[in-house]
Subunit: 365 residues, 2 copies
Amino acid sequence: MNKRDYNFSAGPAVLPEPVLAEVQRDLMALPGVGASILEISHRSKTFEDIIGQAESNLRQLLAIPDNYAVLMLQGGARLQFSMIPMNLMGGGRRTCDYLVTGSWSKYAAQEAVKFGETRVAWDGKPTNYDRLPTPGEWRLDPKAAYVYYASNETIQGVQFSTEPESGDVPLVCDASSDFLSRPVDVQKYGILYACAQKNAGPAGLTVIIIRKDLLERSSDRLPGYLNFQIHAEAQSLWNTAPTFPIYVLMLVTKWLIADVGGLAKMEAQNRAKAKLLYDVIDASGGFYAGHAQPSCRSMMNVSFRLPSDELTAQFLHGAEERSMTDLKGHRSVGGIRASIYNAMPVVGVERLRDFMLEFRENSDE
Amino acid sequence: MNKRDYNFSAGPAVLPEPVLAEVQRDLMALPGVGASILEISHRSKTFEDIIGQAESNLRQLLAIPDNYAVLMLQGGARLQFSMIPMNLMGGGRRTCDYLVTGSWSKYAAQEAVKFGETRVAWDGKPTNYDRLPTPGEWRLDPKAAYVYYASNETIQGVQFSTEPESGDVPLVCDASSDFLSRPVDVQKYGILYACAQKNAGPAGLTVIIIRKDLLERSSDRLPGYLNFQIHAEAQSLWNTAPTFPIYVLMLVTKWLIADVGGLAKMEAQNRAKAKLLYDVIDASGGFYAGHAQPSCRSMMNVSFRLPSDELTAQFLHGAEERSMTDLKGHRSVGGIRASIYNAMPVVGVERLRDFMLEFRENSDE
């Protein structure tokens, strides 16, 4: 087997090793099927069982109520940036509210503008998106078609600890980078969606959990693939589904249930992993400067800066030598970003923690 | 290794065994990379090399000129059914012409209607799509934004042997089910596109070859993911690309170049495979009745009926016993459909031929 590093990529990102091992074992042919998962029809009994199991695992992990549909589509979060206003805003007759807390909610709001009046209810730009709004800081429109936010901003490393209160207005959440990392109360959402390539599988799949009454807002005039109602009626098999990513999602959710023991246990692990790194940052006397304000810190993406670009380059080089990769921060924030999703083992984070301590010690001399 | 059958699925469909073997070998980690193809960033050097190699292989196999862009997107042919009229028709100011020769061109025309005046220039419905138009039979609008057709209809098994003549009007072709099965002259097309899951890779990827001057028609008001111009400028990395299907496409095109020896040789193999089955049909005295008229027969999807539903069921059962699967015809045509894409080995088609001969002989008694 080729050597595996500790991969801190923000996405596509590390997957659980037992999942990869099962994919590899059965790659040439699924047991008793006679063909690879890459070769079987999306309408075969075998695949119907796989997509059914993926949905049933998601329903179990997140306690998804019956009045919510689960869709598995292509096109990533970017396609959702369009689909959500196109389906929910009644062809521009209604308005929508966006909480802009980082790069991804900003891109989403920029797209919504094309489809109707889009109000930015709060914008974290003045402090380079290092914090989240407090409940009194934003005012929502009670007549809005929906309120949109991103539960975790991958680039800035800020994460909501609970859902913003939206009253009777449907709450729409991009959970791409913290999906399945902790329990959430699905009933608080109109739509909860996530692309798979952080915590749920490979690139090419987006999971959309949508309250069924919202499906009635989809117009027949929408582009067919962009119509939530069509996909819900066809149980995500209106067209050829992304069969392989759905298979991996099924294996990842099985791993979360059987190996991890559910999302409460996953959250405890994630919290402990993040604490290892934030503790080093907080005890570093400013050598490591976290981007997010402490109350808004992400458990998934730990963004911090070093005192100089030279030290940052040395840090990245030293990490690579120790088999830790993809730690370079996004250019809009700079510094280091350690993405420590569900599948990053504690031992990987401990290795990074040890290196951070060692690097700082050596830099002090 | 789990047993592999001969898989005659219409798509997702059989892939070359050497491709599957390489995917399996490196599934846990690509050589020298330290992470699985499922885990690496779409912006990593490793992936940039992979997508670059996939494009360069396609350009070599199809002799794609420099004034064409190659896009690799999500959403399948179904999303193209919307994207093409949305990008090319100038927001409904122009009209378009469709040749309706089977189920897929029919669905495409039904979608185009939403975005502007859509003319059906020819419709094969009167004979249940068992033939293609002859050049004199349709009249195209010389002012149309484009002329659309499907080079091969997967369900009905009819295939154009050459491109319809469209004069100065850009020709748009859905080549989903015969892409890379034979050489084509790309310069005849405005857009040549194909979803991957028949001849080019797994589900979740669509390749769009588009003449660059057509990109100027894309409006800024389009949904971002549906804008060809945006994807062309970003070289298909505007958002997270479907990294794994693009990796498999790279391996499949490498196989076509290095193992098969190019598309002319691939076509010769495909022609020989199809002849094995059509010869049995033609010599069966009507026992096997081909759906397509002989001059329009597909080299990819061989559709035929047996004298009764009972015999069809017996045939399918006997084929399964002999490790030949997915031969059931689509419900709109009935009978049997043998999809014999590039990766179906001659030995698999010979086995089916032998069974067809044996089955007929036993039924004659």
